[in-house]
């Protein structure tokens, strides 16, 4: 009996039926997802570092609890995503290993430094804003465990962007120095944020296949354009200027035109030559190595306890 598994798979996609871990799937679909979900997980984990830098120096307790909660959420989001990736057959340790060896990538944005408190505002507003733009359509992605993880992530992430915008709003209504600090943060984070959507469509060879598989629902350029369009009025409300002199409403397109992205910089950062690549990776590797004795002790304790339980039972 010849049953065409690929045809069954295609029919599920066609009918918007989610693919679940035990379903047959093309090997390339599995690999694409594994790469995307694990990269996404790594980004959440590395993404804690730039903000972790400011937890002890938050200007007041309200800001501090919010930032702590946000960073804790990011750890949680990393864990949801790792567990979704594991359903595709790669172990957690393998994924960590790939991150630590530099084989796996994470979002380039986290290789930029956080120089002032205003960066906490700009990251929440722009970086989380861009992430949300990307993640909302992923709630409908074709792979069940990934879609379910993204629903949780999106539900939790709304506060991340709002607390960031609130920081920007407070600073831009503050002293001239505070407003200048907010403007400086916007200047530094704007271009890296719009690069977060990835290369232009004609330079993104995997996009067509990912859209056919309904992993992605929109192309990089579509999402980037949406993000730029919604962010412009938000900047105006803050009284801040987006650092792009070519930004202009295009009546014909119904969208804003914008300047040329410096893809050379993007490629350099992806290749490991960004301002903080080495520092970020080192922080992760150190955390893993320094935690080894904790992992060993926990394992030893669990063994001892289970032995004791067995003796009592006998």
């Amino acid at each position: 009996m010849e049953i065409n598994l690929e045809k069954l798979f295609d029919e599920k996609l066609e009918n918007e039926i989610k693919i679940e871990p035990k379903d047959w799937m093309p090997e390339k679909y599995r690999k694409t997802l594994l790469r995307q979900i694990s990269q996404h997980a790594h980004s959440e984990i590395v993404g804690m570092l730039p903000e972790g830098n400011w937890i002890t120096r938050a200007p007041n307790l309200r800001r501090k609890v919010a930032l702590l909660a946000k960073v804790q959420d990011e750890a949680g989001h990393g864990l949801y995503l790792y567990s979704a990736a594991e359903t595709l057959g790669m172990s957690r340790d393998e994924m960590f290993n790939d991150l630590h060896s530099g084989k796996a990538k994470y979002s380039s944005i986290f290789n930029y430094p956080t120089l002032t408190w205003a960066d906490m505002g700009a990251i929440g507003w722009l970086v989380d804003g861009a992430a949300i733009m990307n993640q909302v359509p992923l709630c409908r992605t074709s792979y069940g465990p990934y879609a379910r993880a993204m629903v949780r992530v999106c539900k939790e992430e709304s506060f991340h962007q709002r607390q960031g915008y609130e920081i920007m709003l407070t600073l831009s209504k503050g002293t001239p120095e505070q407003k200048a600090m907010a403007q400086d943060a916007l200047n530094r984070w704007w271009w890296p944020s719009i690069m977060m959507f990835g290369p232009n469509d004609d330079n993104s060879p995997n996009t067509a296949q990912s859209m056919k598989w309904k992993i992605k629902r929109f192309s990089n350029d579509e999402l980037r354009q949406k993000f730029i369009d919604v962010t412009i009025p938000q900047a105006e409300l803050l009284g801040l200027t987006i650092p792009d002199k070519d930004l202009k409403w295009n009546e014909e397109r119904g969208h804003n035109d914008f300047g040329t992205i410096n893809w050379d910089e993007f490629n350099q950062v992806v290749a490991g030559n960004g301002p903080c690549n080495k520092q970020r990776l080192k922080a992760r590797v150190d955390a893993w190595n320094k935690g080894e004795w904790v992992r060993e002790a926990a394992t030893a304790f669990a063994e001892k306890r289970s032995k004791r339980k067995n003796t009592q039972a006998a």
Binding site: I17, V65, A66, D93, P145, R148, E156, V230, F301, A302
Partner: protein, 183 residues
């Protein structure tokens, strides 16, 4: 490398008294005590739960996808395609099993009840007859009841109360200009 990895646990949360425990995801922990503690931090930061169940992943058995039943002669009955999910329980004399149903692909597995069976196959078959009325596309997980570890009822306040005060985890805590309300 894999030798040292902590076991994987599946986490089920009861969001409100009276509702079923629903699968939310998985995590690694050395034992069930640690799994419950970690599940509390990872999956209930915003009052999502009043009770947590954890089950070691390799104790859960599953039905094959309906459309593929005919394709694979011997079902491995592991929930994922992991190479490590091959352990079968040792003693299987008319034991009690808990049943979790995914009523549609894309949704979470939800606890629906329990049954008696002598082995995994019988548990899955009985669950199919009893709980799904043979609806197409339904996925069934079964696990021996004694493999479920729950938080102690008297821990409930200590585990879940603190989240109630953390209003800053919710978007409405941040009052922004009306123009931004879609944010």
């Amino acid at each position: 490398m894999n030798q040292k990895e902590w076991p994987l646990w599946e986490v089920f949360i009861r969001s409100k008294q009276g509702l079923n425990h629903k699968h939310v995801g998985s995590l690694h922990a050395v034992d069930y005590d640690m799994a419950i503690e970690n599940a509390r931090d990872v999956y209930t930061r915003r009052m999502e739960g009043v009770s947590i169940w954890v089950i070691e992943s390799n104790q859960i058995h599953t039905s094959e996808p309906n459309d593929q039943v005919a394709l694979f002669e011997s079902a491995n009955q592991k929930i994922y395609k992991h190479p490590t999910f091959y352990n079968l329980p040792e003693e299987l004399n008319h034991t009690m099993w808990e049943v979790f149903i995914q009523s549609k692909q894309g949704l979470n597995h939800k606890h629906v009840g329990s049954l008696y069976a002598v082995d995994v196959d019988m548990a899955i078959e009985t669950a199919r007859d009893g709980y799904t009325r043979s609806i197409e596309g339904v996925s069934i997980w079964v696990v021996q009841s004694n493999q479920i570890h729950a938080n102690e009822p008297d821990e409930q306040d200590a585990l879940f109360e603190p989240a109630q005060d953390k209003t800053y985890r919710h978007p409405t805590f941040y009052i922004l200009p009306l123009e931004l309300n879609h944010m």
